[in-house]
Point group: C2
Chain length 336, copies 2
Amino acid sequence: MLDDRKKKVLQAIVEEYVNTAEPVSSNSIVNNYGLNYSSATIRNEMANLEKTGYLEKTHTSSGRIPSEKGYRYYVDELLKDDNISLEEIKYISEKLETKVNEIEDLTKIATTTISEITHYTTLAIGPSTQGLLIEEIKFVLLGPRMLMAIILTNTGMVKETIIKFDEDVSDKQVETINYMFNQKLKGQPLEVIDLPLEEYLINEMKYSVKVIRPIIEQIKRVVKQDRQLYLEGTNKLFDLPEFNSLEVAKNFVNIIDEKELMTDILNSGFAKDINVYIGDETEKQELKDFSIITFKHKVGDKDLGTIGIIGPKRMDYSKVISVMKYINKKLKDKGT
Amino acid sequence: MLDDRKKKVLQAIVEEYVNTAEPVSSNSIVNNYGLNYSSATIRNEMANLEKTGYLEKTHTSSGRIPSEKGYRYYVDELLKDDNISLEEIKYISEKLETKVNEIEDLTKIATTTISEITHYTTLAIGPSTQGLLIEEIKFVLLGPRMLMAIILTNTGMVKETIIKFDEDVSDKQVETINYMFNQKLKGQPLEVIDLPLEEYLINEMKYSVKVIRPIIEQIKRVVKQDRQLYLEGTNKLFDLPEFNSLEVAKNFVNIIDEKELMTDILNSGFAKDINVYIGDETEKQELKDFSIITFKHKVGDKDLGTIGIIGPKRMDYSKVISVMKYINKKLKDKGT
DNA sequence: ATTAGCAATCGAAAACAAAGAGTGCTAAAA
DNA sequence: TTTTAGCACTCTTTGTTTTCGATTGCTAAT
């Protein structure tokens, strides 16, 4: 356990480093953070915090920077999560008041707003279909060989897909298809649509495999479909001093290009409201220089997916978490 | 008009510079391009080509690099568009043989393939709705206050959108809506859906504004909707030597972030099969260091949108254009 | 337990030197 | 008239040395 003064020193160093991106000296702490001790005392504390793994040095005679353990301690124990100004509150509120036609547009607005306020790159991904139930499937014949299937879920999410056939399909057939599919699927989880169902339907109905199989295939496809990943403000990070290193910059672009990696991270972390991954904590080598903070957002109790931000390890955790908490709350309230 | 030797010198300089990214000296041309003259002669030609604007110097005693005018001349007059190896042809053919369910997936495959072969960043955008005619509109009631409109166009493109109402809508009402909308819109261009139509429908039908207006608004929205921009291989360019300059790298990320700019460029240039924009030719300041090459692709005669690549001005125009031509042809054939 | 004081360490920046690549020009050769 | 050899000149690149300043760790005093 850290004693009080050590906490204060650690906090000061994290905050100063977040601000300046320069190793923090004992002197600057004394001058800017009003700790009533001499720089020598602070130096002793710093040496100690280094020994216990909370701080690091870039070279023998440099100031200190926080280690991952240091950031983690700061985030868990020291950080204030109401670091948000009146102007920011006002700005966010205004943004979220915007009238939208599609509820998904709210995600975009929230994503953009976060990026604007925090100056980091934001990511967003739509809600998972995991656990959703099929409320109804509708079929609409768009042409003699073209059918649209519309799947309604219990949460009001709608997914639709077009199926093309090699042979003509009649209204009558569609009616039967409609009946059979709904008979079998209503109230079932989306994941139920799979091979056994396929066999069952083909056996049960007299229609050729040529009609049933494409339908099931397409439905399976659309249900499992990778959700679209949104990116906002890729360029924002390039203003940061760490991006003067070509290696870091290149690394970042590589990461951003790997949609799967990003999707994975957004999809993990269910435990808490807000998930913070600091550097190596993601256990993905590429991300060692970066931190990611994510949260699931809902409007009312309708799941809207996950929003995240990515920035340098030297991230303004306090600001980001404060903003996320506020937006999260605002959105939740909006549903009521 | 450039005489033969000048052409050869210009061509050599462009190709050498494309390969090495270093200013080209008179000596290297003599050595690597088998021009049977002394370096002094080449130097004279180079001085001349510089005076006439085809070449540039980075400083007094440096080799030459092509100017925009030089690149342009090269692209228009000197470039070979069959710069494609047997392996590449085989690779492309295989890729394009892949069985796809959605024809749009072909676009993705083509885009990825181009990025893989050329090592530049590729862009793609879906087909324009410009000039399409409405074949039919179908309405499906998904719930008492939720309606889906499905628009079929003459090219087989399908667009659908969901409309939510503040009041219940009956089957009967939907029937009328269906009749009226189709009555009025069948065979019309998509762009016809606009204010006058709105007034007309509201007057003609006895349904409240509350029902008609949201329908038209949503349809207008989905028709005009920005088409999704795909990006592939953003990181590819970061391996190029010009990206050692932070300014260039940052510039690039800024460009990539500006979806609108990219969309604009992909949408312009109808005149030719393949459009080449060299540096400032786009007249967008941000793009001055980059070149863009785009082409519209079709399967059979079905418009699939535009694919483009973005790279440094020092781009392998020959390779890119060759690959695009080949893919273009392959896709076109596929429709038959 | 705290602090003043000071030598030691290291990086960043500046100043300087040397090497090398390339050009332009002149005068000679073809 | 065209081409070329030759050479002085220019400018970049690279490496080296020096200087300067920031900061630490340690010791001895408070």
